[in-house]
């Protein structure tokens, strides 16, 4: 019987040969990720109250990324709880202040096609780029997972977003996502499985694919999957996953005749997209916003500050200076991505252009620590521009790709990056 990629992943994790849309099944969890905010400070007291232990510490990854670097005594305490707990629970996989969970997880080879994973963070669907069934859950449900090693799933319908053709230069995965979120709305995914495909998607590198899967959260999907192919295997090998673990990687794709709701897009028709305050669904082509004056240009987050994003910004900013009166802030999504960008000269280009480089953490995107000043108008490569998320309610945040953020920093106004390439 034909199955979608989502069905195949759930079937495997629930120990069945086949699952049907709507089935309620219990799945074995291959990996559980949580961070300093959603993890130890919430889980530890609850585990203690239950008198329970973690089912399998080798299947847990703890990432300190939300409250680092600590801005005050409260944040310091939250991070300290995470560090102390990591020792107490003897967690073998702890990534502390080296980048954002959704980026460091694949970077360390923790995700592989076919796995069933949960994350204590809403952008956990990022893992779907690796044909991994990964979704976000809250702390109490994470407690259930770490005690039982299991999670319930209702088998979702599959909504396929099929992109033909080729993206224009300066147009990227972020623009694709903003466009889809504008069309379907922030809950248009109805907590079903979105699967991205078509030649324009499969032409993307892994980090661009991760941007698609990442913002499946803003589409309201449970997961945002992409079939595994040679690009997936090549990336995983480059981060140390053994060849023999990848032998069956390309099995992780949906059957040709599996039933899905399909939507078709032409990549070459897509222009750079911008989401106006205060929702990612307020997206229109960039020409609707050209010349909006800006105070801050922000390149950050798991959504928009990976190596490929930094390279895009550098391509625009090379040999140029940002406009007077605007601040350009860059918070590379991981230390490894930053180190590679340093080797390639990308970081130097950004600094020479006038960028202030910030720590490898969630930073202003999470809104948990440093945020933007009152009444600031910001263009940001992050995922969400909810009112009050990245600072006071008066802050106006426009979302765009790193290409568009960089171009806008050069003019001090929202700009069409294609004029710079």
């Amino acid at each position: 019987m034909s199955q979608t990629l989502a069905q195949k992943l759930i079937a495997r994790a629930s120990g069945r040969s086949h699952v049907a849309v709507g089935d309620l099944v219990t799945c074995k969890v291959d990996l559980a990720m949580f961070h300093d905010s959603s993890g130890p400070r919430r889980l530890k007291p609850m585990l203690k109250e239950l008198g329970a232990k973690i089912w399998d510490p080798s299947k847990v990854v703890l990432v300190m990324d939300h409250y680092v670097p600590a801005q005050d005594a409260d944040a310091m305490q939250i991070v300290q709880i995470a560090r102390d707990t990591a020792k107490e629970w003897k967690l073998p996989n702890v990534i502390d202040s080296e980048g954002i969970c959704h980026v460091v997880l694949p970077e360390r080879g923790h995700l592989r096609p076919g796995m069933m994973c949960v994350g204590g963070d809403s952008h956990s669907p990022t893992g779907g780029a690796f044909a991994t069934y990964m979704f976000g859950i809250g702390a109490t449900e994470m407690l259930g997972v770490v005690v039982t090693g299991e999670i319930w799933v209702q088998v979702p319908k599959t909504i396929r977003m099929l992109w033909s053709g080729r993206l224009q230069q300066g147009v990227c995965a972020k623009d694709m996502m903003l466009h889809m979120i504008a069309r379907f709305g922030m809950n248009g995914g109805h907590y079903q499985a979105v699967e991205f495909g078509g030649e324009a998607v499969m032409a993307l590198g892994m980090q661009e694919r991760m941007t698609l899967s990442n913002m499946s959260a803003e589409l309201g999907a449970q997961v945002g999957l992409i079939a595994a192919d040679d690009v997936t295997s090549a990336y995983l090998q480059s981060v140390g996953v053994k060849q023999k673990e990848l032998q069956h990687a390309s099995d992780w794709q949906g059957d040709q005749d599996a039933i899905s709701d399909d939507f078709h897009f032409v990549a070459s028709n897509l222009s750079p997209q911008v989401a106006a305050p205060h929702s990612p669904a307020n997206t229109k082509p960039v020409d609707e916003f050209v010349n909006v004056p800006l105070d801050v240009a922000y390149i950050g987050a798991c959504t928009g500050a990976k190596l490929e994003d930094l390279r895009a910004a550098a391509q625009v900013l090379r040999g140029q200076k940002i406009a007077k009166g605007i601040r350009l802030m860059v918070a590379p999504a991981s230390a490894r991505d930053q180190a590679q960008a340093e080797r390639e000269g990308v970081m130097q280009i950004l600094r020479d252009a006038g960028a202030q480089v910030l720590a490898n953490s969630c930073g202003a995107c999470a809104g948990y620590g440093a945020t933007f000043e009152d009444k600031a108008t910001v263009i940001s490569s992050t995922a969400r521009n909810f009112k009050g998320r990245m600072g006071p309610a008066s802050v106006q945040v426009y979302l765009a790709s790193p290409w568009t953020v960089a171009a806008s920093a050069l003019r001090g106004r929202i700009s069409d990056v294609r004029e710079f390439l």
């Binding site: 309620l24 329970a52 944040a75 809403s122 809250g138 109490t140 449900e141 907590y191 449970q222």
Partner: protein
């Protein structure tokens, strides 16, 4: 479910998790976050809400973050149920895991602010007697509501293990 009449706080569409549990207060305990619940949308809410009140909202309630404090503050403030035409899937799981009842009702927006309604097994009864049906809730989720959340279910489970 009970025939007790509940006071309604009416909200708009797309109420996000940052509005329910603002990021700036996330480092604090649930009591502090609760004081700031919905302060941008309904500044009087956190101080005036009473145990047993219900929230009625437009579509897409709870979009955004996985932070379960967004549901936790509503439990802390004594909200009996949230009624909306649709919810974020992630928020939906979190709410039931904390024992908070969510009712998916396509006609939710007919209900007025400050109205008194009753939650009946067959639907939501408005002040004028009109009955608005809601989508059935799977038994295992209702068990979570009756138990007061997943934590209590897990406690029972570990007790059963002890006595097995």
């Amino acid at each position: 479910m009970t025939t007790h009449k509940s006071y309604v706080w009416k909200l708009g569409a797309d109420i996000d998790t940052d509005a329910l549990a603002p990021g700036a207060y996330m480092k604090h305990g649930i009591d502090v976050i609760a004081q700031h619940c919905l302060e941008a949308a309904r500044p009087d809410f956190a101080t005036k809400v009473q145990a047993g009140d219900i929230l009625v909202a437009g579509p897409n309630f709870g979009i955004g973050s996985s932070r379960e404090q967004a549901a936790g503050v509503l439990v802390h403030l004594g909200i009996k149920a949230v009624v909306a035409p649709s919810f974020s899937g992630l928020f939906f799981r979190n709410a039931f895991n904390l024992g908070l009842l969510l009712l998916t009702c396509s006609k939710a927006e007919q209900i007025q602010d400050a109205e008194f309604v009753s939650i009946l097994p067959t639907g939501i009864e408005r002040a004028d007697g009109d009955l608005l049906p809601f989508q059935p809730i799977p038994d295992f989720l209702m068990r979570l509501v009756h138990a007061g959340g997943l934590m209590n279910v897990l406690k029972l489970r570990s007790l059963e293990k002890l006595h097995a």
